[in-house]
Symmetry: C2
Subunit: 338 residues, 2 copies
C-alpha cells in the first residue's frame, strides 16, 4: 500500500536527523509494529461485539514488488456497522523525485545521489468506522512511524511520527464530544501544557471542507512530522496513549448510542453528512489523493474509508432550531470541548 | 456561476483572434443564448413527461456581484428520475491571473495590462440526468460559448466553443450505445470526415478514472477550444446539431428502457456505478474542481451533477459471465460503436 503511505510524507516540514544504530532502528520498528498490530486486534475485537450479523474479514496482502504489505480487516453490511475498516501496513520502497519534491517544499533538500540511495519505511494503522445508527458517530484514526534510510548502510537519515483521530457525529451529544476530546487531552497532557490545544487546532484546520465552509466533524487531534523533545521513546509513548484513547472513548460513545431509536429523517441526514465525508476524502484528503495518483496502489484499501452509502440532495434544507441545525452550527464554528 | 464556467477555459490550447464588430459579437451572444435556453426548455419538457411524481423546480439566480446569473432546473426524488438537473448560465467576470496562468500552459500569454483590461464572457447549458431504473442510463452534456473581451472597447480578443455529451449506462444495450453515438456522428459528419472519430476519442480520454483504469461510461463526444474552419456560424450550427442530438437520442433510449423490470441486484450495481461517477466528478472533472476552488461559487449548482445516492463496497465482486461484467469490460476497453 505504497499509496496510502505517501500521505505520511506530505506535511513533513523539517528534517530531524536521528543517529541511531541499526539494531536500535530495528528495535524501534518492532515496537511500533507490535503497537499497531495490538491496536488493530483490539479495535476489531471491540467492534465485533456490537455486531451479530457480519464478521470482520481479514485480508493479508503483499505488494507485487515484494516491498511490504499489510492486513486489511473489513466488516460491511452488518446489523450495527455499515462499514468498518481497520488496516495496518508496513512497507519499504525506494525514495523518488516525486516524494523528494514534496519534502523540498517543506524545507528539506536532497541531492540526486541521495534520492537514489534512500528508501522510505512506513508502518501504520488506519481505521474508519461507519455505524448504521445515525446517533452513533463515525470515527477515523491513524498512527504511523516513518523512516528515511540509506539502502546500503541501513542508516536512518530522517524519521518522524504522524497520526491522530477525529470524530464525525451526525447529531450533537456534548458528552460524546467531551469524552472523545478528553481522551486525547489525557494522552497529550504529560507532554506539554499546550500540546492538546495545538493538535486539536491542527485537526480542525485539516478536516475542513473549504467550499462548504464546514468541518468534516467535531475534530480530535492531528499531528505530523512529529517528535516530542527529539525523543523517540516519548513520542512512541504518546502515540500509544493516543491510539488506546481513540479505542476507549469510541467504545464508550458506541455503548451510549447503540440503542438510540432513529427514524427515516435521521437516516437521511446521516446519508447527507456521509456525502460530505466523501467530498472531504476525494477532494481534500492528502492521503487519499496521493494514494489515488500512485501507480499500483491498492485502491480498495484506500477507498475503504468511503461510507457504504452517501446521498446528495439539491438545496438540502436544514430546519431552523432542529437537531440537524445544532450539529451543523458546530461544524461551521468548532467548539472547545474542554 | 463563475465556478462552473471556469472549466470552459481549462483546455484552451491556442488562441483564435476573431475580429468582429461589437454588433456582430452581441448578435452571436444572442443566438447562442437563444439556443441554450431552447435546449433547456425542451430537455425539461421531454424529461417531465416520464415523471408523474416530482416536477422540475426552476431556480433563477443572480451572482451577488451582479456579473450574470442563470436558470437551474432540478427535479429530484421522482418516481422515474432520482435526480435531473438542466442548467443554463450566462456570466461576465474580470479576467484574472489564475485563469491567465491556466491559459498560458496552453500556449497563450497575456501581459499584466491585458489581464487587467479583459473580461471573460461565458454562456452555456449543462445537464446531468440520473434515472431510477438501472437499465435507463445517466446522461451528461454541456454546450458553451466563451469570449475574452476588452472591458473598455468591448472588442472580442479571443473566443471559442466547447461542449459534448456522454452516456453512462449501468447495463450494456448495444442499440442504445449505437443510437447515442450515431446522433453525434450525424451532427459531426457535415464538418469533416474524421470529426466524429476525433471527438469520440477525446471523450473516451477525458472521462477516464485512471486509478480504476475504467471510463465513466460509454462516451460520446467532447470538444473544447473549438472553432470549425475559423467559422463562428459553422461551429454554432454544429453545436446546435450536437445539442439536439443529445436530447433526441437520450429520449429514444429512455423510451426503450423505461419499463424494464429490475431487481435489487440491479439497483445495487447501479449505486456502485454511481459511486464511480462521484469519484470521476470529484477527483478528475476539471469543471467541478475549478468550481469547488472558486470563491463564492454556487456549490449547489456545481454538485448538482452528483447522483442522488452512491454506494461503495469493499472488494465488490462482479460475477463472471454476468451482465455487470459485460458492462465493465466496455468501460475498460472502449468500443467503436459505429
Amino acid at each position: 500500500m505504497i499509496s496510502s503511505l505517501l500521505k505520511f510524507l506530505a506535511p513533513q516540514k523539517k528534517a530531524k536527523k536521528t543517529h541511531v544504530s541499526k539494531e536500535e532502528a530495528l528495535e524501534r520498528r518492532k515496537k511500533f509494529e507490535q503497537f499497531v498490530l495490538d491496536l488493530q486486534n483490539h479495535f476489531v475485537q471491540t467492534l465485533q461485539k456490537y455486531e451479530t450479523k457480519a464478521v470482520f474479514l481479514r485480508d493479508e496482502w503483499q505488494r507485487k514488488d515484494g516491498h511490504g504489505g499489510g492486513v486489511t480487516c473489513v466488516l460491511q453490511d452488518g446489523n450495527f456497522f455499515e462499514k468498518a475498516g481497520v488496516n495496518t501496513s508496513k512497507i519499504s520502497f525506494p525514495f523518488n523525485h516525486g516524494i523528494a519534491a514534496s519534502m523540498k517544499e517543506r524545507g528539506k533538500v536532497f541531492t540526486d545521489d541521495e534520492i537514489k540511495r534512500y528508501n522510505i519505511y512506513a508502518n501504520g494503522i488506519s481505521l474508519v468506522i461507519h455505524p448504521i445508527n445515525p446517533f452513533a458517530p463515525t470515527v477515523h484514526a491513524n498512527y504511523r512511524w516513518m523512516e528515511l534510510y540509506d539502502r546500503e548502510t541501513n542508516q536512518t537519515v530522517d524519521c518522524w511520527f504522524g497520526g491522530g483521530g477525529d470524530l464525525t457525529p451526525h447529531y450533537l451529544f456534548e458528552e460524546d464530544c467531551k469524552e472523545f476530546h478528553q481522551g486525547f487531552k489525557n494522552a497529550c497532557d504529560p507532554y506539554g501544557q499546550d500540546l492538546y490545544k495545538k493538535l486539536k487546532k491542527e485537526c480542525d484546520d485539516y478536516f475542513f471542507i473549504k467550499f462548504r465552509n464546514e468541518r468534516r466533524g467535531i475534530g480530535g487531534i492531528f499531528y505530523d512530522d512529529f517528535l516530542i523533545e527529539d525523543s523517540w521513546d516519548k513520542t512512541f509513548e504518546f502515540a500509544q496513549k493516543a491510539g488506546w484513547a481513540t479505542l476507549n472513548s469510541y467504545n464508550t460513545i458506541l455503548e451510549r448510542r447503540k440503542d438510540t431509536q432513529y427514524n427515516e429523517k435521521n437516516m437521511e441526514w446521516k446519508q447527507i453528512r456521509r456525502g460530505r465525508y466523501v467530498e472531504f476524502n476525494l477532494v481534500y484528503d492528502r492521503g487519499t489523493k496521493f494514494g489515488l495518483f500512485t501507480p499500483d496502489a491498492r485502491i480498495e484499501s484506500i477507498l475503504m474509508s468511503l461510507p457504504h452509502v452517501a446521498k446528495w440532495e439539491y438545496m438540502y434544507k436544514i430546519e431552523e432550531g432542529s437537531e440537524e441545525e445544532k450539529m451543523q452550527k458546530v461544524l461551521i464554528n468548532p467548539v472547545d470541548w474542554i
